[in-house]
Symmetry: C2
Subunit: 139 residues, 2 copies
């Protein structure tokens, strides 16, 4: 984290992302930060989420519903439950081997890769039935 001033809005934004496990959207972070800093601006939230992501303090990811942020900046994969919509972190799988194989097959230089899993989490499996509508909800 090179020269990066930790102003109060910035710190609260970072804490909001880290203190939840929902891989929040900007709107979610905004609602959270507003509890402690009611006059914060939505633009400030967006701006700082991008700044913090550029610094590598946060990770940024796009999914079907838009932009999401992740307080865990270490490499890891994601599992999205189609029942409740929650996104869980899962340990990243193999490293070099897959990249080397793809490179050999295609001539691409693979610098990075990320896997997304989709399915049903333990809770939703126990409840049986099909995905509840609330699963589609954004947060």
């Amino acid at each position: 984290m090179r020269g990066l001033r930790l102003t109060r809005p910035r710190r609260l934004i970072l804490e909001a992302v880290r203190d939840t496990d929902v891989h929040p959207t900007a709107a979610f972070v905004y609602r959270r930060v507003r509890r402690r800093l009611p006059r914060v601006s939505l633009a400030t939230v967006y701006r700082n989420l991008r700044v913090l992501a550029a610094e590598g303090v946060l990770a940024e990811r796009a999914d079907a519903g838009g932009l999401r942020f992740d307080g865990n900046a270490e490499p890891h994969d994601h599992f999205t439950c189609i029942g409740c919509g929650r996104i869980h972190d899962v340990p990243v799988r193999r490293g070099r081997a897959v990249r080397a194989r793809l490179a050999a097959q295609t001539g691409f230089e693979v610098l990075n890769h990320r896997t997304e899993y989709f399915g049903r989490c333990g809770d939703c499996r126990r409840q049986g039935g099909r995905p509840s509508p609330k699963g589609q909800r954004r947060s």
Copy 2:
């Protein structure tokens, strides 16, 4: 492809997606279709891209720049070149094993997974240097 009328706009939209290798956005498809059907509406393009994706004729995917469509509806992974921005199809890797392992570790039922690779394609490697700005361009 169950009962799905192949109207002229719909057919042209499908062809536009299939006749390119760029994994186009809706705007790109719109521009293409307009060449042959100048009065087509952007809403028609969006509507039918969704319809065709729902039918399984096309695949829909979200990335940092928004929605993209893929004429290849078979399971496969993607390699995104950070140099030129192009997205290449790559064969999907192993199937069952990885899902089973994750299920055992977490209790999740994994129904599907998808891997995104990032790196530099053959052309961009040969040209050396760092990513060209045009790489960020949308199409």
